[in-house]
Subunit: 431 residues, 2 copies
């Protein structure tokens, strides 16, 4: 009888964990530099809360891990973080605003597992609660840019849009609210089903062909940020629709210039992002030429009311760790050691074992990660072990070495060795 991890979940053995931890550390450092404070919430939330946020209501039950506890309370595993923070803010309106927090942890979705898709995965999230200004959305985007730059990405692209534009546009061309929602749903699928797919879907939803054409003209606008913004402005003026969306988008673009990331920005009217709770700016990060969304977010000004709190505006972004790691691995951006242990302190025989342990203690005092023999292996077997797990150095301790105070330091990759005093060994291992 051999057990497996449950479907859609995985184990992270050291080699993979070292990669994941490296990425998490980099992301955390950026979040903290921008003054986002750490927060953690339970993995379990009441189902009622999870359903309140999704907009989908009870239908969300099919997409998450749902269960009842022994007192028959309906619970679910969180499928993202913002709803939990919204719960906190809803129950305590005295928390100073803006409230800037980050959260990194596991979330669960009862998805169909596929490429880069798991039922249990790690998400990193930043959000700003309490600011309605485009400056807040711009900061979120600037942090995302800093994150991808810190991870070593050169050509990443942040597509930005503002849902108020497509919303007002759809209203201006005479679509009712239900049809507008259908437009959002279909446009969201553009990269999956293509232009003709979107047209077919909208036709099937009984939207008039001339309106479909107008929508496609809007979402297909392209060019430099300046050109795109001008084209959209012209349309806004021409059809006399609300200018709120384009004004916010204009401010957002201007703010991003202050941080020097304007070259990474693409204004893209086809970006709507599926989730129904977005209310304004939306954004999504991908590597240039790639379609896979590595991070995405936007403004969601209604959520805290939705969970019973005072109106509190909010904007934020979530980073999909496994996808980022996948892309980094493919591009050889995660060339890290297999283990964190730096050195194995080997003993030549039983008699010098305690000396080897004491030398290891000295190395640890210098913050050097080391292991010693725990299985009474002979020297050959100790070296084999160090080699098999990928420990880069071995120090050899024998009677002779203890007397001369000089120890052999073996470099396991270069297959070289050198006799050295302990202080010089420490210097090599720390460099």
């Amino acid at each position: 009888m051999k057990f497996q991890p449950p479907k859609g979940t995985r184990d992270f053995l050291p080699e993979e964990m070292i990669k994941r931890e490296f990425v998490i550390q980099k992301i955390k450092q950026v979040f903290e530099k921008w003054g986002y404070e750490p927060l953690d919430t339970p993995a379990i939330e009441s189902f009622e809360l999870l359903a309140a946020k999704s907009g989908a209501g009870q239908a969300i039950k099919d997409e998450i891990y749902y269960f009842k506890d022994k007192a028959d309370r309906e619970l679910g595993l969180r499928f993202e973080f913002t709803v939990s923070t919204a719960r906190i803010l809803a129950s305590d309106s005295s928390i100073p605003k803006p409230f800037k927090r980050y959260q990194i942890g596991k979330v669960w979705r009862y998805d169909n597992p596929g490429y880069g898709r798991f039922r249990e995965f790690v998400q990193a999230d930043i959000d700003i609660f309490g600011s309605s200004l485009p400056a807040a959305d711009a900061e979120i985007i600037a942090v995302a840019c800093d994150v991808f730059a810190a991870l070593g990405f050169k050509d990443f692209v942040i597509r930005v849009s503002n849902r108020k534009i497509l919303e007002a546009f759809s209203a201006a061309i005479g679509l009712d609210e239900k049809s507008r929602l259908e437009v959002f749903r279909s446009v969201d699928k553009l990269s999956k089903i293509g232009e003709s797919g979107v047209i077919d879907e909208l036709k099937n939803k009984n939207i008039a062909e001339e309106k479909i054409k107008k929508i496609l003209d809007l979402i297909k606008i392209s060019g430099s940020t300046k050109q795109t913004m001008e084209k959209i402005s012209n349309i806004v003026k021409k059809i006399g629709m609300s200018a709120a969306g384009i004004e916010e988008l204009g401010s957002l673009v201007k703010e991003i210039e202050i941080f020097g990331y304007e070259k990474n920005i693409v204004v893209d009217m086809s970006l709507v992002r599926g989730l129904e709770y977005y209310t304004g700016a939306v954004f999504e990060v991908a590597v240039a030429g790639g379609n896979l969304s590595l991070a995405g977010g936007g403004r969601y000004d209604k959520m805290i009311e939705m969970v019973g709190g005072n109106p509190t505006v909010a904007t934020g972004i979530g980073f999909g760790l496994e996808r980022i790691i996948e892309v980094m691995k493919e591009n050889k951006m995660l060339d890290l050691p297999k283990v964190q242990t730096k050195v194995f302190v080997a003993n030549v025989d039983e008699k010098v074992k305690s000396s080897a342990l004491k030398i290891a203690s000295q190395l640890r005092k210098e913050n050097i990660s080391c292991q010693t023999d725990l299985m009474n292996k002979n020297l050959t077997k100790q070296l084999e072990y160090a080699n098999s797990v990928g420990i880069p150095y071995v120090v050899i301790v024998g009677q002779k070495e203890i007397r001369s105070k000089k120890f052999k330091l073996k470099d396991m990759q270069k297959k070289t060795e050198k006799e050295m005093q302990l202080k010089d060994i420490i210097a090599v291992l720390k460099s």
Copy 2:
């Protein structure tokens, strides 16, 4: 409608998270210095696996979060880590031994919440798989000592025992296997129900009074490590029982001396630790004078077979993060800042906003955590915000300051301020 976190779970707002992260970082650093490698497993495991480990079988269902997924698979939230690592080792016997790994994360138990007890809590775990030597148990104990020393504990005590001693003793005085199990269960409750409680329980289980007296004589042995070891040795010789346990315990004590932690060790025959899967050495850490177990573990040589693998011996220890944090808070050992943000870069008016943002960018390049205004607050409100969240410094940016290249640095705690060049501000903030 206000939502709460589910019963027995909690939110960690920044102030609490900073404490938890501080403790986790310290623990991780010690684990890594000893060459334990990071590992992570799913929060969800198959119920069959969780039941296999507990020894309690199906009865464990009442003590954990148990549920079925949409394909009717029986699952549960993990209640500790070792069973998951055992699963990995059982399915891949080629992993080099010893396999030394650490795991830090959330675990869940459907306990009755109480003091320092939650249904969702954080555990930190190290284990060594593949070594049967007391040297491995001693290393685990030495790492635990390093952890508590690194956290700033001065007077911590590690109680150690070996279950083989009480086991062999009980057999030698003529108890059958079922009665021996009852002895373990009752002795385990000693600190809760007292000596008379143990006596009553054993009487109720029909164990003869003269045998109960003998057991109590054994578990009440006290004194220095040397004295205790001698007394136990004498008993072992006198009644002619197996000496395996006392020999292992002797080696363990000797190994610990190498690491200089002999003064923190108390040999305590009343320590058995409830879990039925322990097979030899057992240990438990508490602060001197305290009864609360802050960490505990032992040798469990049968678990990998129990989950279907080749026989693979194992030893390890788990640290209860919330209890450690509770004790540290009570003893003022976690006097950390309320937030990680070091400085708020305030703008005097709208016109200098982008200058303030650029100065913030420069500070971030120096790894200084900073925030800027995101809500068009006036200067007074910006200072109020910084003060309310506990940001220790504010830099003030105005037209005059930009011209003179000297900025006011306000120390919010000392309520002092000084005009300085940016490079000097950076020096103060980094110190």
